[in-house]
Symmetry: C2
Subunit: 225 residues, 2 copies
């Protein structure tokens, strides 16, 4: 379902080039639960953004369900991002002028759902991450871990086939973090593909496989968790 071939990603800063990915090959099957681990700055978020169709590589190919993503039209890409992929960002990326409920309802608007159904579904997902009493708060009126949970809720509200979670428990105590892992495990049992970046070995052990990345290269892609 997800296959990358020799992905290279360079950033240019003036005359200096920073190579964030140096030839990355990953293959992830439908329904897998994969953890990605590696040192700070090793390229994990960069890889996640390419897999999530939010960024394109400098070189190399990315195939999603057999389709080469670089060949897709902008409109097809937008559809995939909205319907197939749910992304939990490392820095949350919530919309600051919308409250918690509206932030989580947003992905459902493209699904053509009525307002009543969108609100119902968003409330349900927010209840599952323990935020029923924060629906009207804006992101700046939340704690760090509450923002992280809103980001998680927003990523899963649409029931996407693929969930990409970039360090989803970094701001959560072990209780709340455990609740999130339960949610991901349930979704995976229902057939969703989960790809999760984490620095926490306990979290990584929930996955069935750990991909290790170092200096922009896959170090070991097939470690059983």
């Amino acid at each position: 379902i997800i296959e990358t071939t020799q992905l290279i990603k360079d950033y240019s800063l003036g005359k200096v080039k920073v190579r964030a990915l140096s030839g990355v090959d990953v293959v992830i099957q439908e329904g897998e639960f994969v953890a990605i681990m590696g040192p700070s700055g090793s390229g994990k978020s960069t890889l996640m953004h390419i897999i999530g169709c939010l960024d394109s590589p400098t070189e190399g190919q990315y195939y999603l369900d057999g389709v080469q993503v670089s060949e897709l039209h902008r409109s097809d890409l937008a559809l995939i991002r909205n319907q197939k992929i749910g992304f939990v960002f490392q820095s949350f990326n919530l919309l600051p002028h919308l409250n918690v409920l509206k932030n989580v309802e947003l992905p459902l608007m493209y699904a053509g759902m009525s307002l009543r159904k969108r609100t119902e579904k968003a409330k349900e997902v927010l209840a599952s991450v323990g935020l029923s009493d924060r629906l009207k708060h804006k992101p700046t009126e939340l704690s760090g871990g509450q923002r992280q949970r809103v980001a998680i809720a927003r990523a899963i509200v649409n029931d996407p086939a693929i969930i990409l979670a970039d360090e989803p428990t970094g701001n959560l105590d072990s209780q709340a973090g455990g609740d999130i892992l339960e949610i991901f495990t349930k979704l995976n049992n229902n057939g969703h593909t989960i790809i999760m970046v984490t620095h926490d070995r306990i979290v990584a052990d929930r996955a069935s496989r750990i991909i290790r990345i170092m200096d922009g290269k896959i170090f070991d892609g097939n470690l059983d968790s």
Copy 2:
């Protein structure tokens, strides 16, 4: 050195009041290394902001070195914040238009240091957190854990007497996280007072005491780590 008496903090959202702290008493001696733990949303960051003179309580008193902080003039407060306290924010709060080096040099400007000395000191601290090769990057051109390390560097560059770190290792792998704890331990051995919010028990065990907070109240303030 730090003493709070029945701190209460309320936030108002329209007609609704959210009580984030419900009568918090803490006493922290000079040179202690204290960890603060508790569930997401329990009031840890709120307490840290009051201790760091960045926010004032709704009720209750806060004494810093015997001085009641609410009695201080704005200019005295600014001086304390800049010289006595180093704050690592949970969401980093780096200045987006300045590069890494300039972000870390900033606190040194009030110390009346020459530019040459400021640059030298900032580079030294950035080397200690492993970011010597990222000095000219802007915050948006860094990984999450690199931003966290810049925030840490900025908080300690001024050698402040009190270091307040709000979840300083949440975005770091265990190697980089261990390096940060080494830095804090060294600073503590040199007499600096360290107050650190963390969700990580391994991190908390570096401290000599753990303060537990729950629903805006101190649950247990004297657990030996």
